[in-house]
């Protein structure tokens, strides 16, 4: 039961990793397309890992785990987006 879930998760991560590396090494795509594929497969793989190996789900047992993860994701978004916005803006105005 659990072992099957782990096996499926492992195969799925292998597949997603393969896609990421293939998109970059095959050099046959538009940059924007490749970037979108890269981010999508990374995000998907993170979700797979969280669900399969770290047992994050919507059960009441792990509701606070999920809440803290979502709060952290919000803070991470604010920090990354804010920092890139601010620093790239400053950089452009210096050039």
């Amino acid at each position: 039961m659990k072992a099957g879930k782990y096996a499926a998760g492992f195969l799925l991560s292998l597949l997603l990793t393969g896609i990421s590396f293939w998109v970059v090494t095959s050099h046959s795509h538009f940059r924007e397309f490749a970037v979108i594929i890269l981010f999508a497969s990374a995000l998907l793989q993170i979700v797979v890992h969280l669900h399969v190996f770290l047992h994050v789900d919507s059960s009441p047992d792990s509701s606070w785990n999920l809440f803290s993860l979502l709060f952290t994701a919000l803070i991470i978004f604010l920090m990354i987006a804010g920092t890139i916005w601010i620093m790239y803006n400053l950089g452009e105005r210096l050039n």
Partner: protein, 184 residues
């Protein structure tokens, strides 16, 4: 699962969240530095792929070890944990080799801000993996000597959380640093 174990696991989960934010600062720093240059010339993607495979497989073997822990098969569990340890050590070994090669070729962390950020981000992940390996070694020895007590089981499951968490960070590392860096 006892209430105390769950409390400990939840506390450890919160710690992992804070560690994510530590990594976020390093990722944001790297993103800012990457505006000024690229590391694509010096990176060997085949090596990165190998590292990724090692770490992914170690996550799988670690999960298998947990399955055997729940079935209270001490020896089988230790076997899979040892496999995890070897795969993780392989990862660290390749990473140290990569760092040494880059420094030899003049692309060390003192070169410029971009390489400072590269070495610090990738190195912090590597340091976490190394600490995980040390933790694994201590726990394996304790299990070997005293058997699978409930406190050891609870510690083992936290170690597994740590290990899978480092895999997630690595997904971000190879995506942002290596693959995105090789695109342009």
């Amino acid at each position: 699962m006892s209430s105390e174990t769950r409390t400990r696991e939840f506390g450890f989960w919160i710690y992992l969240m804070t560690d994510l934010i530590l990594f976020t600062s390093l990722f944001a720093t790297y993103a800012v530095m990457a505006r000024e240059g690229s590391i694509s010339a010096i990176v060997d993607l085949r090596q990165v792929f190998l590292e990724t495979m090692l770490l992914l497989s170690s996550s799988a073997t670690c999960a298998v070890a947990m399955v055997f822990m729940e079935r209270r098969k001490k020896e089988t569990m230790l076997f899979w944990l040892a496999a995890t340890f070897l795969l993780g050590s392989g990862f660290v070994f390749i990473e140290i080799g990569e760092f040494a090669r880059m420094i030899r070729e003049g692309y060390g962390p003192q070169r410029n801000g971009l390489f400072s950020a590269f070495f610090t981000l990738v190195g912090t992940h590597g340091l976490h993996v190394s600490m995980g390996l040390l933790w694994m070694l201590v726990t394996m020895m304790q299990t070997w000597m005293t058997g699978l007590s409930s406190s050891l089981q609870s510690r083992m499951s936290r170690l597994a959380m740590f290990w899978h968490f480092l895999d997630i960070v690595w997904i971000c590392v190879f995506t942002e640093v290596y693959l995105l860096g090789s695109l342009s």
